[in-house]
Structure formats: C-alpha cells, structure tokens
Symmetry: C2
Subunit: 485 residues, 2 copies
C-alpha cells in the first residue's frame, strides 16, 4: 500500500505565486439549478418555465446556457411539450449535442423534431463517434437517411460502418478515436507525437501499441508513460496481457470482461486482427446499468427500458404492458381451470376455497426468490456449467426445508381455524410439494431459457407462477378430494 | 468528431527494428483455463482438482500460478471445501492478495481461515487502501483486531480511519493513494515529479491540483498533461468544474454523480475541505452493479446480495429466505380471511371459487409492472418531486385503460364458461377496480418507502400483493354476494 504522505506533492510555499482560481462547482455556477443531491431544483424548473412562457429569451439563455449537458437533458425531460419546444428553440444556436444521447427516447424524438435535420447533422459531426453512432441508430430510417445525406462523406461512412454492427455488439459500443503508436517508438517520441496535437483525440485514457500490420500488441496506461523516462521503449511499458475485443462480441460479454479484468480501455479489432477502435470503461458503465435495469424490468413484465420510460405516452406504455398481462390472463385461466376440476369438492367444503390461495401464493414467492438469485447469478456469471448441479440440488433442498417448516406452520393454523386435523395435514403436504416444485422450477426455468438463447429474465415469472399455481391448486384440492371427501 | 485516420500514428516502416512481442491473451497464457466466453473451463477445474487430490504441488502451482486474480477467485469458488483448502495451502507463498476482495463472503471466510492472520496482515499491506479497508471490514471483529495488531502503525491507522466511515459512505469507497500537485507548478515540474517515482502511487488516472491549504482546486486528466508543453501552467489545464465529494456522501449518490458527469476520478475531502483521497470510476462500477443486484433481489424477497450467494450454506440461505416467506404467509392468511368473509357465498355458488384468483392475480401482475418501473426510476433519479404527480396520474390512467380492456375480456370469458351474464359483469367490475388499485399502490408504495428513508425495493412487493389480493378478493366476492345471491 502506497503511503498517503508520500503520494502527495510537498507542501506548497505560501501562495506568493499566482492567485489560485476558486473551484467552480456546477451547483454554484448555475445559480441554484441543482439541490444538494445534484438534482434539478423544482424552483429552478419553475423559473425556467416562467421565462419561456414570457418569451424572455435572454433570461432563458442565461439560466440554462451554463448547465451541464446531463442536467440540460433532465431539464428538458421535466418540462411539458410546449415549454420543451420553447427552450430548444431558444437554445438552438448553442445547443450542446451531448444532450441528445442523454435524453429518453420519446423526449429525444421531440427535440430532434424541433431542431431539424440540419442541426442534427451538425450534432453528429461534433459528437464522439460512439455517441454519433448511438444517436444515428435511434433515428427513424427515413430521418436517418436525410440527416446522413447532410454529412461529409468521411463522417457518413464512419457512422454507416458503426450502424452495420449488431445493436448489442462491441462494434456499436466502440469509438473510433484513439491513440495508437508503433511498437518501436520510445516514450519521448510518443510524448512528442501527443504534443504535436493535431492527430490526437480530445480525450483518451490509454495508448495502444501496434505492430507494423496495425495489430494491437499491448495497452499502455497514461500514468506509465508519465512516470517513464523519455528514452525508455514504449514496448517495455505495455501490459502484454491484453484482451482483444472482436467487433461482434456481445456487449454483455464486454462488460463482463471489463469488470473481471478491471480494464480502463480495450482495443477493438476487425476480422483480420487490425486495431480499428476502442471501448472505454465509461461506455461499459452504461451497459452494466442498462442490463441490470432490463433484468429487473423484464422480471416484472416490463419488456424493455424504453417501455419503462416515464416520458413515453400513456397509450404506448399501456399497450406494451397489455401484452404481458394478456399472457398472465391466460395462465390465470389455466389455474382457474385446475380449480374447476374440483368445483364439486369446493361446493361440499367451502373451507377449501378459503385456504387454497395460500399454497399457490407461498410457492410463487419461494420460487421467485430462487428465480431472482439464479437470474442474477447468470448475469454475473457466478452460475455456470461447473456448478449448476450442485446449486440445483441446493435449491431443491432449501425448498424441502422451508416446505417442511411452512407445512407445519400452515397446517397448524388451518387446524385451529377450521378445527379439522385432516385439513391441516392436507394443506401441509400440499405446501411441501409446492415449495419443492417452486425451488426446482425457479432454478430450471431461467436455465432452460438461457440454454435456448433466450434472456433468462424474460417471461421467467409467468412460467414460474403457472407451475406454482397449478401444482399448488392441484395438490391441495386433489388431496382434499381424495382424503377429506 | 475526430477522424479515425488522424488519430493513429503514421504507418510503421518494415519491422527492421526490434521484433515485436506477441500479445499474450490470458486465455492462451494459462493453457486453456478459460473458454471463449472468458469463463473457467470445466476441464481445467477438473485437472486442478485431480492435481490437488494427488498432492501434485508443482502441477497445481504451474496451473493456477498464472491465473488472473479474478479467475483465481472464480476457481476457488467452484471447488469443494477440501480442494479449496488444498489449493490455498499450496499457493500460500505466492497468494495474490487481490483475490480476496473478489471472493464471495462465505468462501472468503474459509480462505482467510486457511491463510491465517499473518498472511492476511501481509495481504492488507499489499492491497490498495480501498481494497484493504473493504477486506478488513469483512473480517469478524475479533479476527480484525488480531490482523490489525500485526500491521505497522501507519497501515493500521489508515485502515482504522477507513473503517470509521459508514459502510455505504464515500469514505469507505475512497482510496488514499493519489497524486496531488500545487497549483503554481507547470507541466514540466509535474512530469519530473511523477518521474521521480518514489512518491507516486502504482496507478492513477488524474492529477489533483491543490491550493496551499491542500484544498482541491481542480482535476487534470492525464491526457491533458501529455498533450501540453512543459512550460504550460498546470492551473491552465484543470477542469475547474470539479465535484468535491465529502466523506459522508452516500455511495449511491457518488455513483449518480459519476454517471451524470461522466467522471473518471473525483477528489474526496474531509470536513475542513482538505483533499484526503479519491474515488475512481472502477470503484463506482462495482457500486452500480451491486445496487442494481440489490434492487432485483430485494424485490424478489432475497434480502441482500450476500444472501443470494451461491456459496452460502444451505441452512443460512434457507433461514434468510424463511423470514420473507413468513411475512408472505401472514399476508396470504390475511387474503384468506377476506375470502372467509364470503364462505357462505362460495358454498352457494362454487363458480366464485374458480374465478376468484383471476382478479387478484391480474392486479398483482399489473401492480408489479408499475412497481418495477417506479423502483428503477427512483434508482436512476428519473423520478422525483418535480414529476411525481404527473407520473402518478399516468399510472392510474394506464391502470384504467388496461383495467377496462381486461374487464371486457375476462367478463366475456367468464360469461361463456359459466353461461351467466351477471357473473361476467361482476368479474369485469372487480377487474377494473383492482387494476386501478394496483396502479396506485404500485406507484405509492415505493414512494412512501422512499419518503421514510427505507429502500423502495425492500418489502414493496409484499405490501403490493397484500393490497391487490385483498382488493381483488373483496370486490369480486363482495359484488357477487350483493348482485348474484
């Protein structure tokens, strides 16, 4: 562990030198736009709204011109349609293109509509290549054609190349801007090259070292260059254990690799192994976040992060949720038809109707616990072929233990409630059966979905509750009919 | 957009210089340890197991000695207890301390047990301060005391300071190693200082510029230093819009700030505003991942990521799930008691028992869709005071639309099934009521939990299904009793 004392520069002499500039926190800079949680202040939004409605253009510019692009995106999302159009129109000339990729899909469509193709084309030219490809990918095909037609040929070619890669591929994620130097250079040559300026991108974390055929040989983190002497060979600084990313690697795979290897940036190569771009950790952060969001939403029956947008129209949201609910209605009727088999039993002993949801509900909940654990373990790669049988056995065992405990508890409750020892035994046996079934189904369903290339989070809950409802109702009502009646 | 051509060094001359080293991918380096998805190969695990059991120490060292620490952690997790102890014992001398923070809690406890206090103390000295604090925080208090007692005073003091910060605070997350230079230095002085070597940490992304009282004035990304001339003042390179992180900021807040501002590293300051450490983006990646995992698991009733560990013992896992299921059993009985109110009605018309789960189930599913959307929106800060009323209204409206549609569909089904038009109308009305209730509850429950400082994902589903079950059963059976009987 490097000691703290030694990692800091010697204490500064009394400040006779140049007066230090005060650090300018965004919060202070824009006059109370953000609260202490870095969120837009409702009072600020109100003042912006008032200025837009009063058509006080200078005031709007003064208020929102200094906002960080992410805050500007938030502001636009919070305004209603008319005010949003107003702000975009007023800010048209100084509109920061970095705002666009930050917007949620529906708000972005609107903003693009106000800005028009000319301004969007300008934005695409100013953005980093990965952001430009992302944004172009979000345009409707006809809009995209019109925007791309307004770009210089080289810009257009780059974006079209980017769009040719699959939506969830490394090729889409990569940026083309990077620094690559030949492996025979030394540190001095590299620094001089970087200082020469014209050829270097605006921002970079690493320097890639390439062989004469432009294949990546290694990655050099910038701090290694800064710490090295000018005469040292760049080749001696590389970390040779590089992971080279092909353009068609899935972005989840990319995220896994970055986390697993604690990477800052990784080279992307084409089919012949030539270095054509890089992926950096900040892109991966977005992927991790989005994939985790997708899992949680899909488990709950919201089909995508775009469908979960708060800014999507009511009809679109209602429609996207309808499909999932329709599937659920099907399984609910299936469960009802299982109950229907025992209608006569229920007519004879109505206590069965009172108790029957308990087994089904407990099975569903126990199964969901297993399901969520398995889905997350698959996502983080904790679970795989080498330990799947051990984990499956474990889940069945947990189901049995908790099944036994809840059989005893529920059986006792049912006995005291309806004063019928046999009814208690019946619900107890049904409970154990369903809890074990829930453990096995909660484990098996996401694994089977994963095996067949489907997303394990997708629809897993429908399948699970179909199993637990049907098994729960059937064992309870079936046993009751057999033993009690 | 920087053009691709210009961001690359001029093509290299024929390689008459030094022969280029071949890049060494981890996959190839360790002889088939990893498959093409960067996962441990089952065959490799098998070979390691065989070597351990045969006590072939050199073979084990040859196989696992070259593994990346993250892969080593995975390997240890995949082995059974005896084999794991065997590997750790054989590798004791060359044991990479970076493996320890990567292990899941229960496996780590075991490994620590095999290594013993002396080796753990050594590991803590070698790790970066943030990893050392993390690891020390995971030790049992008595173990920790014994390990810390074996450390030099300055190491011990740093770790104890780190542990004094709250578990989810920025203070815990920060590392003490960093580079800070006085604001009157120029680029040349900074580079010379970094080259002098002894004082600089092993790895860093940015240089912090501090005033004479050691308060951060700005952040300089390394590429800016590399691109600048030696005589340029470091102060002219800083991005003055820094966000300064106090040690007690919540780590979720920190993650939000990094994402929102696309930060690479941020300065952490003590109460007097002095720079005492930094947080870097790779730490934030872990936080984002862990928080998302927690949300998905908590929604499903698994209380923490540690409880979801596949390596936790069966009894511990069963016990941690038991608590949640017990709460669920309570709500299931509550729902049953609602049904119990209408036992006479069911005895008269057993079709009610067959149909009654449908409304409850649909309400639960619709509510969960809303719930997941709201929980994610709160986590990503899309939802806040400025738009909460609009979103709430929207959810109620979506509930009404889908409620109407499913009322019609379900009513028609019920009518055809039981040939009773009134029964169809009753279930239809109950359906609309429950779907609207589900929308409101799915929205309100996480918001109320959040308002009172609880985690909105925690227990939200229990509350929701309690509402949808009770409302579903009560409206359906109540209306049926009133209208049909």
């Amino acid at each position: 562990m490097a000691s703290v004392e030694t990692s800091t520069a010697p204490p500064a002499p009394p400040s006779e030198g140049s007066p230090a500039p005060q650090p300018r926190s965004t919060r202070r800079a824009v006059g109370g736009a953000l609260d202490e949680r870095f969120e837009l202040d409702p009072g600020f939004i109100y003042r912006v709204t008032a200025a837009v409605r009063g058509d006080l253009k200078d005031q709007v510019r003064a208020m929102v011109g200094e906002l960080h692009y992410a805050d500007m995106a938030n502001l636009l999302e919070r305004l209603n349609v008319a005010d949003r159009r107003g702000v975009v129109d007023i800010m048209r000339d100084g509109f920061n293109p970095d705002v666009l990729p930050e917007l949620s899909a529906d708000v972005r469509d609107e903003v693009i509509d106000v800005l028009g193709f000319e301004d969007i084309a300008l934005a695409l030219r100013e953005l980093d290549s990965d952001d430009a490809v992302y944004l172009a990918g979000k345009l409707e095909p006809d809009e995209r054609a019109k925007v791309l037609a307004r770009l210089p040929a080289d810009n257009r070619a780059l974006i079209e190349q980017g769009l040719a890669y699959g939506e969830h591929s490394a090729g889409r994620l990569m940026q083309r801007e990077m620094v690559a130097v030949p492996n025979y250079w030394n540190v001095g040559e590299t620094i001089d090259y970087l200082r020469s300026g014209r050829r270097t991108p605006e921002k970079f974390y690493v320097v890639f070292v390439v062989d004469p055929r432009h294949r990546p040989q290694g990655v050099v983190e910038l701090h290694r260059i800064l710490k090295a002497k000018r005469i040292e060979r760049i080749n001696d600084l590389v970390d040779p254990e590089i992971e080279v990313i092909p353009t068609d690697m899935d972005r989840e795979e990319v995220a896994f690799l970055f986390r697993q290897r604690n990477l800052t940036a990784a080279p992307v190569v084409d089919k012949s192994g030539r270095l054509i771009g890089q992926i950096t950790i900040d892109d991966v952060v977005d992927v991790i976040d989005e994939e985790a969001s997708e899992d949680i939403l899909k488990m709950a029956g919201v089909r995508s992060t775009e469908d979960s947008s708060l800014y999507r129209s009511i009809m679109t949201t209602a429609h996207s949720r309808f499909i999932w609910l329709m599937i659920n209605l099907g399984t609910a009727f299936l469960a009802s038809s299982v109950i229907g088999l025992f209608e006569d039993s229920i007519a004879k002993l109505s206590a069965l109707a009172v108790l029957m949801p308990i087994c089904a509900s407990m099975g569903g909940n126990a199964g969901t616990q297993t399901l969520a654990t398995v889905i997350r373990s698959l996502a983080t790669r904790e679970l795989n072929a080498s330990n799947v049988f051990r984990v499956m056995w474990k889940e069945a065992f947990i189901g049995s233990i908790n099944g036994l405990l809840f059989a005893a508890i529920t059986g006792a409750f049912a006995y005291f409630w309806f004063d019928d020892i046999l009814l208690g035994i019946v619900i107890g046996v049904a409970m154990i059966t369903n809890m074990i079934a829930a453990g096995i189904a909660g484990m098996a369903i996401p694994l089977v979905l994963d095996k067949f290339g489907a997303d394990p989070a997708d629809s897993a809950v429908v399948f699970l509750t179909t199993v637990t409802d049907c098994v729960g109702f059937f064992t309870f009502l079936g046993l009751a009919t057999w033993i009690l009646l």
